[in-house]
Symmetry: C2
Subunit: 149 residues, 2 copies
């Protein structure tokens, strides 16, 4: 799986931390916003990641892709990402919530708060649930995800 990462100024430090942790795990990580910009805006950051996730390339399609988005609270990038059809983004607070969001809503973007009170271990568990939980095969969930566009 290829994991795209993007963050505004408020999520930048945590994004770099997560990048290091995922790289250490052997994950393939592509940083969409590798250069720190002071007081940049979250909507174009989320848009840049959405474009990568929606890009249909043989390599991405074969491997599967996921996105990790960070801003101050996670809410701004989440609204911006969900403006794009094909992106299903949720802010991660707990493992249970993200497991359900993968199963029921087939989310492909996880939004995190750069000012989160969660510690490194908790964050990694949430990211792990996001990357490893399979979407439900129930017809009703697939129908609803399709309705989202």
């Amino acid at each position: 799986m290829i994991i795209y990462l993007a963050a505004d100024h408020a999520g930048f430090a945590l994004k770099d931390k997560i990048k290091a942790m995922l790289t250490k795990q052997g994950q393939e990580v592509i940083d969409v916003t590798p250069v720190f910009k002071d007081a940049d805006d979250y909507p174009p950051v989320a848009q840049a990641l959405a474009k990568q996730l929606l890009r249909r390339g043989t390599r991405d399609e074969q491997r599967g892709t996921r996105g990790l988005l960070l801003c101050g609270s996670g809410v701004g990038v989440c609204i911006a990402a969900n403006r794009h059809k094909g992106i299903r983004a949720a802010v991660g607070h707990t493992v249970e919530e993200i497991k359900l969001a993968r199963e029921h809503n087939d989310i492909n973007a996880l939004c995190l708060s750069g000012r989160s009170r969660l510690n490194e271990k908790e964050l990694l568990k949430i990211i792990d649930a996001f990357l490893k939980t399979k979407k439900s095969s129930a017809v009703r969930h697939a129908r609803r995800v399709k309705q989202l566009g």
Copy 2:
């Protein structure tokens, strides 16, 4: 302020509870989904509420409007609502989060989990923060909200 409410089957019971609590407070509440439907889908529910919030009527514009959306986790309706330009929706977990989302992201829709572990008092505090917190007057926040479309 006019508060629009909508819920799928999984959020229906809590929606009715919130409706009663808000009505008791003297709030004007309009229930977009007043009839319980077994296993209805969250995307059209969120869409119906978004349409009400985006409707430009003299009465709504003068008074101001907000939306409350409920499904099993809050995530499904949140993705669906954010598909609509002009809607800025967030899932409410804590008062602090929703205060910030009002100040920074000017959210106009609050999404709640019908299976929430929050008690009535905690939920009311989150709803209260959603209804009463003013958006920030900072130029940078207004610029970003405008970028969301």
